[in-house]
């Protein structure tokens, strides 16, 4: 009896320490970046273009570039990912063909991002002649995001009780009406979570945009989707490694802005999710 209780205490202790160990690096990274960068984050820094070999001025074009890339990624990956997940879960019969598709989706998420970058470079930039452009970068990031969006959407759809579908079909609704009214609305919170997760990853990626869109130094804003842009992660890489005598605090400040941007996206998704959850409970 006593032995069981002791063992339980030990188990709880080990589990608790493991959790702490997970949290520690995250907390430390964020605190470190805030501590070193926050001083350089001024209104000027956020709203001005870089000057004097990027050692002065701000990072406004990179912020705009990253936001544009996230929007572009969303435009391509969201409809494609969600629609294909709906097809896989609701329509596709279980056969060799669909199993192969599911396997490919899983495998795609394991491909390193630099490979996506090379692939995007050869397909979009060279073969489709899109050039290094927002369009090519967005498409590359979209392909990278697809597996996560598809997997998250699939799981969200599968979590909707089968009885909802039965009710709808038993009343004489068509398959599509059933999906549209009795499945998708209840999967929205889950889809949202997965989507935002993959988009925030896209916002922070350097490798896929390296060859497809990112500009080393371009202190003006893009005029069309065929223009290059600066982007925060690449800018961070450039100022940290390619520019001599770069003040460290500017790197940290850039990192801080990138994290804040991603955090903001997550915040929006949490609020939206709470809103949908409240409306659709079961």
């Amino acid at each position: 009896m006593n032995g069981a209780r002791t063992r339980q205490k030990v188990a709880f202790f080990v589990l608790g320490v493991a959790t702490l160990l997970v949290m520690a690096p995250i907390a430390m990274t964020i605190l470190y970046i805030i501590k070193n960068g926050i001083g350089a984050v001024t209104w000027q820094f956020i709203t001005e273009s870089p000057r004097n070999g990027m050692k002065e001025g701000g990072i406004f074009p990179a912020i705009v570039g990253t936001i544009l890339l996230v929007i572009g990624t969303m435009v391509f990956s969201l409809p494609l990912g969600i629609l294909s997940a709906v097809y896989l879960v609701e329509y596709a019969r279980d056969n060799i063909f669909t199993r192969m598709i599911k396997l490919s989706v899983v495998n795609l998420s394991g491909i390193p991002s630099v490979v996506y970058g090379l692939f995007g470079f050869t397909l979009f930039v060279i073969f489709l002649k899109l050039g290094t452009s927002i369009l090519a970068g967005s498409l590359t990031l979209a392909i990278m995001s697809l597996p996560v969006i598809i997997t998250a959407t699939k799981e969200a759809l599968e979590a909707v009780p089968a009885s909802f579908r039965e009710i709808s079909l038993s009343l004489g609704a068509t398959k599509w009406q059933t999906v549209r009214h009795c499945v998708l609305p209840y999967a929205v919170p889950g889809i949202l979570t997965g989507t935002v997760l993959s988009l925030s990853r896209a916002a922070g990626e350097t490798a896929p945009i390296l060859f497809t869109v990112a500009a080393f130094y371009l202190p003006r804003l893009p005029r069309s989707v065929f223009d290059q842009v600066m982007a925060l992660p690449y800018h961070l890489y450039v100022i940290s490694t390619q520019v001599p005598n770069m003040p460290m605090r500017l790197s940290f400040a850039t990192g801080f802005v990138l994290i804040a941007l991603v955090f903001l996206m997550n915040l929006v998704s949490i609020v939206l999710r709470a809103h949908f959850r409240k409306k659709k409970q079961w």
Binding site: R93, I167, L169, S170, L171, G172, A173, H181, C182
Partner: protein, 251 residues
């Protein structure tokens, strides 16, 4: 008066993969009657019920042969949506959608193309009245349906089915999760619906079949052992197995 058959099954066999769950069922169901279907677990009652509106086919492993006629029309000539509009079903546990009472009932008419608000409201009220729920919910139609009690939810399901104006209503052990008072209310509703609808009641509760149905069929291991007047089935059944079951010797 010669009763008119609304549903007729001819040599109906059903399978899940290689397992045969219905064996050569030949059955006629008369218009406006309540047919009780009794039998122990795994006797094929529910499969029979769900064969009538093809819900079994939601399971890809399902297959069947033989024919089913609805008002002399082979149901394989009807699309799923038309068939299921004509033959509605009430599931074992109250299955409500996590939306308002109103939207639950309005769902059917809406998917069948009734969009005019006034018309939908009329249908909703009419259906809730027929299911004996109107007086209990008329002041709170926008309440989420899952907040209703189990018995109310089951009557809401009946209302939802009535809202698409079916000809036949199938009940798959509709009171298995309900207390006696809620059960009585559901049974009351069924008695009132007899005037306009044909009803088939699958139940594990032989007493309920005795109370509610006019004719009764006994299923055992996928076979229809016996069908006849409910009073006859319960007082002097022709088959020994029926006798054993209704007198509680097994099942």
């Amino acid at each position: 008066m010669v009763a008119e058959a609304i549903i007729r099954t001819v040599n109906l066999n059903s399978y899940f993969s290689s397992l045969q769950v219905l064996k050569n069922i030949n059955l006629e169901i008369n218009r406006n009657e309540i047919l009780g279907i009794i039998g122990p677990a795994n006797s094929g009652k529910t499969t029979f019920l769900r064969a009538l509106n093809r819900l079994n086919y939601l399971d890809p492993a399902y297959s069947q042969d033989g024919e089913i006629f609805l008002a002399n029309q082979n149901i394989s000539d009807l699309s799923d949506t038309v068939l299921r509009k004509k033959i509605g079903i009430i599931f074992a546990l109250p299955q409500v959608l996590p939306v308002s009472i109103y939207d639950n009932v309005a769902y059917g008419p809406r998917v069948h193309g009734t969009t005019q608000r006034k018309k939908v409201s009329e249908i909703v009220e009419d259906a809730l009245r027929k299911a004996y729920l109107w007086d209990e919910v008329k002041d709170r139609l926008d309440l989420p349906a899952p907040r209703l009690s189990g018995g109310q939810q089951q009557r809401l399901c009946i209302a939802r089915t009535l809202a698409v104006e079916p000809e036949v209503i199938l009940y798959d052990e509709p009171c298995s999760g309900l207390d006696p008072i809620s059960t009585a209310k559901v049974e009351d509703a069924m008695q009132q619906l007899k005037e306009n609808y044909t009803q088939i009641l699958v139940t594990n509760n032989t007493k309920q079949a005795a109370r509610v149905s006019e004719r009764c069929g006994f299923f055992l291991m996928g076979e229809l052992v016996e069908i006849g007047e409910t009073s006859a089935i319960f007082t002097h059944p022709r088959d020994k197995r029926t006798d054993d079951y209704v007198s509680g010797r097994f099942g």
